[in-house]
């Protein structure tokens, strides 16, 4: 047999889905439940946090020779994500003078295995910021179009939170939220005095069991390691596996998709071609419908690379918009020491993975010098020591008196250091703003004319610069952090980042909330997809990750990816029934 021969699956699937993260997992689940024959392609390996082969949850730091340091995994040895800012043999670049950091997880479930589970619904305003403010664009749909799907996602996958009745932070179907930790009660009190709301967070974690397949949270605070009882949402555990269980989904791991294939006569997709990463064999999967959910940038890359005589700019790209309007959340942070929390009584306050309270956007941008809002996430508490614990103690231990009322010079050695670690333990808080950026046409990814990855697939080149809007927003975050820290009797650590550091605004991509690269819209000249995330140019092509999103609010988009993917899946089922597809 000629080894160059492309292996083709004998059958024609109803749907082939590229990517098993939130969007692809939901599509596989929803479509296979409806009886469609689905082929689910994932570039990375199989993963199940309940299999001892993969478990990192509840491990102690000494089970890692580097004590959980981030040498090989960007978020440390115990983090569930396989991949990171750089993948071996799969480079990307940024144009001179611009910057973008691209985090990729190559595994079943993708980045949903380690994410913060922060699940915020968009509110009515988040779909029409353009017309509200005169800057940016509206979505082609409204909150009312998505709201029923948010409801379904809440019930299917589980989320905790509290009913607050805030107009642009719509309530969902919430499980009970965990009670605030000590520092969170202090934050809440400080917020109350300042008129800054501090309310229960909204995380996709089961504080109560919702079915027989998934367990209840046991409060180890380690959702980032993925849960062995599936008490947190990840696409692999909660969608992909159930989809496979229906008997209608065939999962293929190690499938790095090269191209979406099209029939040059009809202009329709016929399937995809992929590289089997284990054997480097070229393979194709034929399907009647192609659903792309490879993550915003990877989906744009795939469509741009799917060039043909009929689609010379890449697939579904007659508008030329694919790759443009790339945007990531803004992010800035500050931490503080709270003297009142020194010498704390010890108890287990691990809680759920992440914060128990947060601050939704509470101000009116009309009265501010920047056009979009942000929310604040909080950290702190008596967490588990890992690499980095205790470092820099010389910056603290000379400043505060010991039990005998005396101070000692900074630094030192001996039993005193142990006392220092004990007295400062759990006395720190951190806060991080996550804000809405203005998507710009000038921020984009494109196919690098000069480079390919190890599979021969052309790579991405990024062009991204923050605008004044995001910088001003970060300044406001820093001012707010200091207000809160001061109000709770804390001492801000380090120096406040100023203008020359963009007020601590993180580099583009660093928050890992990138969206916008395969825009949806009602005008085919300005968008690639219609309001059901269906190709304007190619009706049997759909994109169901965050690439189609016009904006991202200050709402970490996973829950919206799930709702929108479910909505598109229902539309596909409907259209097939009507014989439109």
């Amino acid at each position: 047999m000629n080894s160059y021969q492309i292996q083709e699956t004998p059958e024609v699937f109803d749907v082939v889905i590229v990517g098993s993260g939130a969007g692809g997992g939901m599509a596989a689940y929803q479509l296979s439940k409806a009886g469609a024959k689905v082929c689910l392609l994932e570039a990375g390996g199989y993963y199940d946090p309940a299999d001892p082969k993969y478990i990192t949850q509840l491990k102690n730091p000494w089970e890692s020779p580097r004590r959980g340091a981030s040498t090989t995994r960007p978020f440390g040895d115990f983090d569930a994500a396989w991949g990171g800012w750089q993948l071996e043999g799969e480079p990307y670049s940024a144009a001179p003078g611009t910057e973008f950091h691209w985090f990729r997880s190559r595994m079943l479930g993708g980045r949903t295995n380690h994410w913060g589970r922060i699940s915020l619904r968009f509110g009515p305003d988040d779909f029409r910021r353009g017309s509200m403010t005169g800057i940016g664009d509206d979505w082609p749909i409204t909150y009312d179009d998505v709201s029923p799907y948010y409801d379904k996602v809440d019930k299917l996958l589980g989320i905790f939170g509290s009913k607050e009745g805030l107009r642009n932070e719509p309530d969902g179907h919430f499980l009970p939220p965990p009670k605030p930790r000590l520092h969170e009660l202090m934050l809440k009190k400080a917020g109350k005095n300042l008129g800054i709301p501090v309310i229960p967070s909204r995380l996709a974690i089961l504080t109560k069991a919702i079915n027989n397949e998934r367990g209840q949270c046991f409060y180890c605070s380690q959702c980032g390691r993925a849960c062995q009882v599936y008490a947190d949402f990840s696409s692999s555990s909660c969608l992909c596996k159930p989809a496979v269980k229906t008997g209608n989904t065939r999962l293929i791991n190690g499938a790095m998709v090269r191209e979406v294939l099209t029939d040059q006569k009809t202009g329709l997709c016929t399937g995809v071609s992929y590289v089997d990463t284990a054997t480097l064999q070229e393979k194709t999967v034929r399907a009647k419908i192609v659903v792309v959910a490879a993550s915003a940038c990877e989906s744009a890359r795939l469509l741009l690379n799917s060039k043909s005589a009929r689609f010379p700019n890449g697939l579904a790209n007659s508008s030329g918009v694919i790759g443009k309007y790339l945007n990531d959340s803004t992010g800035a942070s500050r931490s503080a020491f709270v003297p009142a929390l020194m010498n704390r009584k010890r108890y287990n306050e691990d809680g759920v993975g992440g914060m128990h309270v947060y601050t939704p956007w509470w101000l009116d941008n009309k009265k501010l010098d920047f056009p979009r809002g942000y929310h604040i996430e909080y950290g702190g508490g008596m967490g588990m020591p890992s690499y980095g614990f205790g470092m820099g103690i010389q910056g603290m231990n000379g400043k505060y008196a010991y039990g005998d009322g005396k101070t000692q010079p900074a630094g030192g050695y001996g039993s005193r250091l142990k006392e220092d670690v004990r007295r400062f333990y759990g006395a720190y808080v951190g806060m991080a703003g996550r804000g809405e950026p203005i998507p710009l046409e000038s921020n984009y990814c494109e196919i690098d004319p000069n480079n390919v990855d190890k599979y021969g697939i052309p790579t991405l080149r990024f062009h991204y610069k923050w605008s004044e809007n995001e910088v001003k927003q970060a300044k406001h975050m820093q001012d707010t952090f200091e207000e809160i820290i001061h109000e709770m009797g804390g001492i801000a650590l380090g120096s406040k980042p100023g203008k020359e550091q963009n007020y601590g605004l993180e580099a583009p991509g660093k928050i890992i909330h990138e969206i916008g690269t395969v825009r949806m819209g009602s005008d085919p000249k300005k968008s690639a997809l219609n309001s059901f995330m269906q190709g304007h140019d190619v009706k049997n092509l759909f994109v169901v990750d965050a690439a189609p999103f016009v904006t991202q609010g200050d709402k970490n988009v996973t829950w919206t990816i799930l709702a929108m993917s479910m909505r598109t899946s229902d539309y596909i089922i409907d259209e097939v029934k009507k014989k439109n597809l």
Binding site: P52, K53, Y54, I55, T56, L58, K59, N60, P61, W62, E63, P65, R66, R67, G68, A69, T71, T72, F78, W82, K179, P180, R181, L182, L185, M186, F218, Y219, C220, S221, Q222, A340, R344, K345, R346, Y347, N348, E349, D350, M382, G383, M384, P385, S386, G388, F389, G390, M391, I393, Q394, P409, A410, G411, Y413, G414, S415, L417, K418, V421, R422
Partner: protein, 203 residues
């Protein structure tokens, strides 16, 4: 905690890390078949095995490192010493894992021996405890140290960082700290007496 109980908790809690001499941890036979520990990818396991088989510090350097670690965190009535917690072996691993630490630590140890020879015509490990402390006191207090010791201060800061992290990421360290998490439980909020102490409530 009574001394006897402390020792018991060290022996039980350290899972062998404390009692295994650091050099044994480093010298894994190279022909050992690769075991991929749970939660690691194969490429990570291969890299870790290679790092463990390699050796960076000389036996002489390890001796100095160990003395210094135990000056930084000695055994006391509350908990064991840095070397009992396996800190020297941890530092040996870290310099191979993150080579950026290699020159500052190797060079710092050389700086220390040179300073010892200048003052006492002996290497650091051969000095009396009082002589060792005399040098350490010159480099352990960053805000008071004389400018001519700035490199020594930087080295000692790094040693203090590595020793504290290495110590508190062991069972001995957990016990010293009073960390009681990382176990399944039911979070029911801040204990009543703590709420009272801080004048807070759940309404």
């Amino acid at each position: 905690m009574k001394r006897r109980d402390t020792l018991k908790s060290i022996a039980l809690g350290s899972l062998g890390m404390a009692t295994v001499p650091s050099t044994d941890l480093i010298a894994a036979p190279p022909e050992k078949p690769l075991v991929v520990p749970g939660g690691r990818q194969k490429s990570e396991a291969i890299r870790d095995a290679k790092l463990m088989a390699d050796k960076f510090f000389t036996p002489q350097e390890m001796k100095t490192l160990t003395v210094l670690c135990d000056i930084i965190l000695p055994a006391d009535e509350k908990s064991g010493s840095a070397s009992q917690a396996g800190v020297p072996a941890f530092i040996e691993f870290m310099v191979k894992d993150q080579p950026v630490h290699q020159i500052p630590l190797r060079g710092g140890l050389a700086w220390l021996d040179n300073e010892s020879r200048k003052r006492f015509s002996k290497k650091f490990v051969e000095l009396t405890k009082a002589q060792q402390i005399e040098i350490v006191d010159d480099i352990a207090y960053p805000e008071q140290a004389k400018p001519q010791f700035s490199q020594g201060v930087a080295f000692f800061n790094k040693m203090r960082d590595m020793t504290l992290t290495g110590f508190y990421t062991t069972r001995i360290g957990f016990n010293d700290l009073g960390y009681v998490g990382n176990t399944p439980n039911n979070w029911e909020g801040v204990p009543e007496e703590v709420l009272k102490q801080y004048g807070l409530s759940y309404e």
